[in-house]
Symmetry: C2
Subunit: 166 residues, 2 copies
DNA sequence: ACCAATGCGCAATTATCTTTCGCACTTGCG
DNA sequence: CGCAAGTGCGAAAGATAATTGCGCATTGGT
């Protein structure tokens, strides 16, 4: 994956598509100040370079019946690379685990999980997570309420940095 | 927001749009097994009902220069509702904070943060987060590497539940 | 059995995307 | 300095997709 040089227009495109991924190409072109064809070419380039990984509908999981969100801090017995990989692979296979990040510090992994209800989660916790070999400790915290949830890039910060460097 | 009754087709639509938010309506209709017009009508209904919150491009923040990801566990002095709201409002204003969740247990909030580099984050930590009134303790953990990151709904689990209930 | 309501599919219109072409600007070499 | 090659842009035309209106079938209730 080559490092693509991004100009102001590319960054605007990314910001707009992050805000509204279904925007039409003509609308996008209008907003970033160029005509449609070169705009589409830039988008394609951004997609092929991997800077745009994809587009996803943001589905309200709570309304769909996943009312429980839990963060789980996991510590392992062994931190050998093979063991770390093995645990990560397990996480990829568990549908209730939506995110898995390896951390520094005393905890090895943090997992973001969803579940339809508490008993479903407990079932997963005791039946799957805690019975996984090499798992030494798990501390879970229920999400009481969400105050902010905007995965993505803060483009305002990015612009500021670019202007400083330029 | 009324509770919408979802049939199999609606759930397929949600799953497909979560996987690929830019899919054309005709392609979507083909995949879920109906013709284009009723498919579009269903999508509009799902959007208006709030089940689909929006569509977003998934931008590779690391490639864009945000190489640092940090989870911050925050404890407050006072957990009065007004204080909780005040802290949440702060989080919404900080661009480096992408997620803020209120938790049960000893920690009051967990924050997912991004930053261009460590010093930027430290600047935010010492300059903003730690100087915020009512913040009692902050424990941060750097993300070493990400193993899974698929925000959204596990539709396979949902289908299984529906079939069991039906 | 009838009627209303809901949802699907067809067809036509409208909007959008894709492709091709030509032009202007920059870059590098003679 | 001049010229050729490469790159990016905008305009226009053909292809594709989205949207709307309407008729019909199915369902649920009377």
């Amino acid at each position: 994956m080559v490092a693509i040089r991004l100009d102001e227009i590319d960054r605007k495109i990314l910001a707009e598509l992050q805000a509204d991924g279904r925007m039409t190409n003509v609308e996008l072109a209008k907003r970033v100040g160029i005509s449609a064809p070169p705009c589409l070419r830039r988008v394609r380039t951004l997609e092929e370079s991997g800077l745009i990984r994809g587009y996803h509908a943001d589905v309200n999981s709570r309304e769909l019946g996943f009312e429980v969100q839990v963060f789980a801090m996991v510590g392992l017995e062994s931190q050998a690379e093979s063991e770390l990989n093995a645990f990560e692979e397990r996480c990829r296979e568990w549908p209730l685990v939506r995110e898995c990040h390896m951390l520094n510090g005393e905890v090895d992994f943090i997992l973001k999980c969803v579940a339809p209800d508490l008993s479903s989660f407990q079932q997963f916790l005791t039946g799957d997570l805690l019975t996984t070999p090499n798992v030494a400790s798990v501390k879970t915290s229920l999400v009481i309420r969400g105050a902010k949830d905007e995965p993505g890039v803060p483009f305002d910060v990015l612009e500021e940095r670019m202007n400083r460097t330029a």
